[in-house]
């Protein structure tokens, strides 16, 4: 049994880890999309988290758990700073501003000496596979439970109200600036954590892992899965991560079929694959 588990982990470790990490990234996207903010800064926050944790452990020998906390705090501080001027933006304007943020982060990582410039950082201390996977899935489950408890309360009602009609939501007494700032900070912390966990699983990170491509990939998790519930976005991440592996027997036409499936899903299920919607109040309450 133990032998079998070892073999299984050895073969699929990277894939299982990516599933959990991408699930966290999808949740990070869900948090901002669920209040109607098309913010594309997730890849940048992920990069900042990854570099923070990697540098803390590499250069200063900070223990891993503490480094992970740092990987959540630094992006959160960044979100607080950039949140202020971008709060007033919405829709494509917010998307553009946050893409700009992503480019700034990427170019900074590419040119700073401390981040290893274009070479990135290597031989980052790693988790042992089993502990690494436990931390990743522990974080994912905790984040999902947290999200569901929030969604099924008055905050969940406020979030959906905000997504549907910002002005009407404000009239209900919802402090929309506070809500947007909170969502951005929580989203940045989730992305930072995911970035750090990824860095400590792969032991190498480079500046181009966190560019525009990554931002769009993270967005596509939430678009494919939908934002009807936190589970929907995570399901989107799982499907998009698994699909290329499942289609491996198709050899040459694999990427074509992969793309085709995504296009068909988005065309025929514009609200996402998972449309189950939790009640915005508690049954017992």
């Amino acid at each position: 049994m133990s032998q079998w588990l070892d073999d299984f982990l050895w073969t699929y470790q990277t894939l299982i880890a990516s599933l959990g990490i991408n699930g966290l990234l999808a949740l990070s996207m869900y948090v901002v999309l669920s209040i109607g903010q098309l913010s594309l800064g997730q890849a940048a926050f992920m990069g900042v988290g990854a570099y923070t944790s990697a540098l803390l452990t590499l250069k200063w020998g900070v223990p891993l758990p503490l480094a992970l906390c740092g990987a959540m705090c630094v992006p959160a501080l960044m979100a607080l700073v950039i949140g202020k001027p971008t709060l007033r933006l919405s829709g494509v304007y917010l998307a553009l501003a946050t893409i700009g943020l992503g480019e700034m982060v990427r170019i900074a990582l590419l040119n700073l000496d401390i981040t290893g410039s274009a070479l990135g950082l290597s031989s980052i201390p790693t988790f042992s596979p089993l502990i690494g996977l436990s931390v990743i899935y522990g974080a994912l489950v905790a984040a999902l439970i947290f999200a569901m408890l929030i969604v099924r309360s008055h905050i969940g009602r406020a979030m959906e109200a905000l997504r549907e009609d910002e002005a009407a939501a404000a009239i209900m007494g919802i402090n929309i600036n506070y809500a947007k700032m909170s969502a951005l900070v929580i989203s940045s912390m989730l992305a930072g954590l995911a970035g750090a966990l990824n860095a400590h699983m792969t032991s190498f990170i480079g500046p181009n892992d966190y560019g525009f491509d990554a931002a769009v990939t993270i967005l596509s998790y939430a678009l494919l899965g939908g934002i009807a519930s936190p589970f929907a976005s995570v399901a989107g991440a799982f499907i998009l991560t698994l699909l290329p592996e499942v289609l491996r027997p198709l050899h040459d036409v694999r990427t074509i079929v992969n793309g085709l499936i995504i296009v068909i899903a988005v065309l025929y299920m514009p609200r996402g694959l998972v449309t189950w919607r939790p009640k915005r109040y508690s049954e017992e309450g």
């Binding site: 309360s153 008055h154 009602r157 009407a168 404000a170 009239i171 209900m172 007494g173 915005r280 309450g285």
Partner: protein, 271 residues
């Protein structure tokens, strides 16, 4: 008789157009006040200024003795302002019950800890809000629709949900923006009864409305706007016979003809 709401010299300009021009009026506590005027007179703009969606250029607004012209939109809800919209703005993908419960947002003050741990204080708050939501849904006659998607209701029912949602914040002043627009005569009649019983429960109501039988039948006082200015204020009877009001609605020539005929002497026209 005290003034619940008082507006003084409210002015807002959109570029070169003065949409609301030094508007001053007051609403007596416990009354139903009508705000009427031809299309484009600035009625909805005035509502938007009061709720904070449009910033005023200058002027003073007081509710219950508190100046609120510089407050944020959501703070005005805490203060006791509630409103509905001319073009219904429900959260259409949410259920009717969730919509109405969302109206109570400003009244829920539990800590995040109590919420995450589902503590007693949070459960009690949610239960109270849910009970009250059902009570207001009963009041507007829509309890059976509680679990339907709000966007699927008929136009008239959506208007009622909006009123129930506005009531959830325990407001002192309810602003209704054309509540009868798009309703058939039977629906309008039952809406009038609903508004009348809100007054009996002690709410103060400010209505923008084009349906004159409704305005004349319900309102204790009426303010008439034209081109952003207050042109008349008084009881329905006074406003109905005011030559300036008739002129604003029907044009100078007809107003003159009417004035010279005996119509005015017989109690005015239905403007």
């Amino acid at each position: 008789m005290t003034d619940l709401l008082s507006l003084q010299n409210i002015t807002v300009r959109f570029g070169g157009l003065t949409a609301v021009d030094h508007v001053s009026f007051a609403v007596t506590k416990g009354s139903i006040c009508g705000l009427i005027g031809p299309n484009g007179a600035g009625k909805t703009t005035l509502f938007n200024i009061m709720s904070g969606l449009v910033p005023q250029d200058h002027g003073v607004m007081i509710l219950n003795g508190v100046h609120f012209e510089h407050q944020q939109i959501w703070q005005r809800t805490d203060l006791g302002l509630a409103r509905t919209f001319q073009n219904i703005r429900l959260f259409s993908d949410m259920t009717v019950l969730e919509n109405v419960m969302a109206g109570a947002h400003s009244r829920i003050h539990v800590s995040l800890r109590a919420l995450l741990l589902r503590q007693q204080s949070w459960r009690r708050d949610e239960q109270n809000v849910k009970d009250q939501a059902f009570a207001w849904l009963d009041f507007v006659g829509l309890r059976d629709a509680a679990f339907l998607r709000a966007g699927d209701l008929s136009y008239g029912d959506q208007r009622r949900v909006e009123i129930a949602r506005a009531l959830m914040s325990n407001p002192t002043l309810i602003m209704l923006d054309e509540p009868a627009a798009g309703l058939n005569p039977a629906e309008t009649k039952s809406l009038m009864q609903l508004i009348g019983s809100l007054k009996q429960q002690g709410f103060t109501i400010l209505i923008v409305e084009h349906d004159m039988p409704l305005v004349m039948g319900l309102c204790d006082a009426i303010t008439v706007l034209n081109f952003g200015r207050v042109i008349a204020h008084g009881t329905p009877q006074e406003v109905r016979t005011n030559p300036q009001v008739i002129e604003a609605y029907l044009g100078a020539k007809i107003a003159h003809d009417l004035a010279s005929s005996s119509t005015l002497a017989n109690g005015g026209v239905h403007v």
